[in-house]
């Protein structure tokens, strides 16, 4: 259960950014979360609420955009989304590929402020 420490880093990061923007109020944090990041969305959401307590971000929302796992198919020569993270292969031709292009993201992409 490392989601709480991740949530605390997100809150800290958003707070720093809010101060940099002139001590604005943060309404929501937009996060991109890859399916291969090793972070569980539900656990992160509940940890976020905890991490916000008694900080200027209390009451703010964490909006998570889940990023699917995209691999490069060496046979079709194009990026493809895997159907399951239990099977790293091209969904069209079934060629196995370890070449992950997307899906490891864990990044704050935007803040909703006022």
């Amino acid at each position: 259960m490392h989601e709480l420490s991740i949530a605390m880093s997100i809150v800290e990061m958003a707070q720093e950014e809010a101060e940099r923007l002139g001590s604005v109020q943060v309404l929501a944090v937009h996060l991109r979360l890859g399916l291969l990041s090793g972070i569980v969305k539900e656990a992160l959401l509940s940890s976020y609420a905890m991490a916000c307590e008694a900080t200027p971000l209390e009451g703010s929302q964490l909006l998570i955009e889940e990023i699917p796992v995209e691999v490069f198919c060496p046979k079709c020569q194009v990026p493809r989304l895997v159907r399951s993270i239990q099977w790293f292969c091209c969904p069209d031709c079934s060629t196995a590929t370890p070449d992950v292009l997307r899906g490891r993201e864990l990044e704050v992409v935007a803040l909703e402020i006022k």
Binding site: M1, H2, P98, V108, K114
Partner: protein, 229 residues
């Protein structure tokens, strides 16, 4: 007048701090010519026995050292110290994984130039360690024959994040009716092309091949370091 809500673009990696430290560690390992190998697995898969055997076999010919992460005890370090290699315990408290900063702190006082191999044993956990880069050159994921063949499918993220899979406790394979073909197929499903080694720290099965693999990788990384100098 109240300001209207607006959206500001940020784009910041949440684990940036860890990743920056990990990159710096990797660079230090490269410059010192030491091959850093981390071990991840579930609790009880035989990480410490495997590491003890590794250190004992490498110690006469190479300069080896190990960092071992554990939640509460220092038993593992005491056990590993029997190999005569320098060993330092990282007690993580309630933290379920190692982070690059913990590795950096633990290395304080060690001269990496006097090492050939550094092993980093992570906390027994197949979930949390997957998100944290420790600066290692190779990440080994261990799977004991007693755990069942479907572990890779249950924990695809950590298996995918690793470079090498090591099947441990092979001496027990028959007793527990371990289906090696299925295990290997599952490993390849979550990480196509991954190297798989099969070992027993008890009988020594597969250890010679494993040591050759380590030596090859060390030569390879030293050659790259020499070229880029």
């Amino acid at each position: 007048m109240t300001a209207e809500p607006r959206l500001v673009e940020v784009r910041k990696n949440v684990l940036k701090q860890n990743d920056v430290l990990a990159r710096a560690l990797r660079e230090r390992f490269r410059e010192a010519g030491v091959l850093a190998v981390s071990l991840v697995s579930s609790p009880g898969s035989g990480k410490t026995a495997f590491l003890e055997k590794t250190l004992t076999l490498l110690h006469p010919r190479y300069r080896v050292a190990a960092l071992v992460g554990d939640l509460a005890t220092e038993n593992d370090a005491a056990r590993l110290a029997r190999s005569q290699a320098p060993v330092k315990q990282i007690v993580t408290g309630t933290v379920c994984h190692l982070e690059a900063a913990m590795v950096q702190n633990a290395l304080d006082g060690w001269d990496l130039n006097h090492l050939d191999f550094l092993f980093i044993e992570n906390v027994g956990n197949l979930v949390c360690p997957s998100s944290y880069d420790l600066g290692e050159d190779l990440r080994f994921v261990l799977l004991s024959v007693t755990e069942g063949e479907d572990k890779p499918l249950k924990y695809p993220t950590i298996f995918n994040s690793a470079d090498v899979a090591v099947i441990t406790k092979s001496d027990l394979a028959e007793a527990v009716e371990f289906d090696e073909v299925t295990a290997r197929r599952n490993i390849q499903a979550v990480r196509p092309g991954m190297e798989v080694l099969k070992t027993s720290a008890k009988t020594g099965e597969g250890m010679a091949e494993y040591l050759q693999f380590l030596e090859r990788r060390r030569k390879g990384s030293r050659a790259t370091a020499a070229v880029s100098k």
